[in-house]
Amino acid sequence: MNLTLRVWRQPRRGSEGAFKTYEVKDVSPDASFFEMLDQLNERLNDQGEEPVAFDSDCREGICGTCGVMINGSPHGPQSGTATCQLHMRKFNDGDTITVEPWRALAFPVLKDLIVDRSPFDEIIQAGGYISANIGAAQDANATLVPKPAAESSMDAAACIGCAACVAACPNSAANLFTAAKIAHLGLLPQGQPERYLRTVAMVETMESYFGSCTNFGECETACPKSISIDVIAWMNRDYVAAQWKNLRKQGQQA
């Protein structure tokens, strides 16, 4: 396959960026999208040019490091697939492919296709954990978890934090990511003691960086783990419940 790539090139954070066009020849249809970019970068290296910078780590769709906008679709045209698992057989010989970084005010471009996603880390730091000390490893049956709760929690826990939901959202909202993390912990018995403080802290941190949900549903279709927007409904309900429950605890807080 011979392809024409239009790639966003930007040397550093805050600097001017622009699209640059590259011809990539003899691409195997069995190559992954990043193997194709690797092929381009090998050539750029040989020519003494700066290679295209992009995030990738596991290349098996489970780490959440990768993610670029491909022809206006987050992670490219195949649903339920991270960019690293997208293969060139999804494209046609002679195609022009536009590759862009995620765009949102909270995600400044660091270089080329790499954006700073640390607001996601801040959302997790606000409450995406369980701090109860559980001591040594205990019997798996010591804490009973209802099967439906375990399944729903696991569906939400599939989130890899790649930020395709933000990239896909016309409002640059991070509701799918935040809701997945809140539902993941809030559905389990281990998550109950901190549940309402967690929900409020994570939602309010999210809202300080990102837009809000207008229920377009774009995030759900962009998500490489196909997480349902039902988790957002769950978060909306839990946030309102949390505001009431936390009122009763106000006196206990410093």
């Binding site: 206006g72 309010e204 990102f210 809000s212 774009e218």
Partner: protein
């Protein structure tokens, strides 16, 4: 763990926003208020339509119905007392709905940043209805102002006679631009309801896979009922089915 979080670049809240408290100024809280006021306004639109369809029964029925609204629960309440309670409530709901939408839209535009995607976005789930909520909403608001001037206050209707409801409607819709504006607005109102009546379950956290399928049908049914029921009146006037009486 603390609920006090560091507010940064995008959506800093200050002044009146922090005074109102965290729930009513949070995006999630404002979406709740939009959903609740949306239910109220949708209920009003439905009742308003059902009442006005009496125009097809006859002039006396419509005029009598309109008069009965002024004497609702009289003499427990003064004349027009309940009517004004409704008017105040509806205005409050409309203000909250529009105010929330405006604040959220401005926050969202800010959160997007200045740089857009160069390639045309391939929308997979967003439809025409969900993408016209904002400007369709503005159109509906402008229509409501005209509608009040036309048929409640009468200053936009040269043939207006207070209390002569049936003839006021017919005179108004005999002007084709008014009838066209009405029908076009009803199309956007139907689109607004098609997305809104589905979306409010999501905002209120009532969405559940068990009844997600009938949520869509409910929205379609409400949107079609409003579109057909309301548009029938100006179309009937334009086609000559409803003419000036006595």
């Amino acid at each position: 763990m603390t609920t006090k979080t560091r507010r940064l670049e995008v959506n800093r809240r200050s002044g009146w926003q922090s005074w109102l408290g965290p729930f009513f100024t949070s995006d999630v809280g404002m979406k709740w208020m939009m959903a609740l006021t949306g239910i109220g306004l949708l209920g009003y639109v439905l009742v308003h339509m059902i009442g006005n369809l009496k125009i097809f029964i006859g002039p006396e029925d419509l005029d009598h119905y309109a008069e009965s609204l002024r004497t609702l629960l009289y003499p427990i309440f003064p004349k027009e007392g309940v009517l004004w309670l409704f008017r105040i409530g509806l205005t409050a709901m409309a203000v909250i709905h529009i105010w929330s939408a405006t604040v959220l839209t401005l926050r969202n535009w800010k959160a997007r940043g200045k740089i857009r995607y160069d390639a045309r976005r391939q929308y997979a789930a967003a439809n025409y209805a969900s993408r016209t909520m904002r400007w369709g909403g503005v159109l509906i608001a402008l229509f409501v102002i005209f509608h009040l001037l036309d048929l409640t206050i009468g200053s936009a209707n040269p043939d207006y006679v207070a209390g002569d409801v049936y003839n006021n409607v017919v005179y108004s819709f005999e002007r084709w631009p008014v009838a066209l504006f009405y029908v076009v607005t009803m199309v956007f109102l139907a689109l607004h309801i098609y997305h809104g009546a589905w979306s409010l379950f999501q905002s209120l956290g009532l969405a559940n896979p068990r009844y997600d399928s009938w949520r869509r049908w409910l929205a379609v049914a409400l949107a079609l009922a409003i579109l057909i029921g309301n548009s029938a009146i100006p179309i009937a006037v334009q086609l000559g089915f409803l003419t000036v009486s006595g």
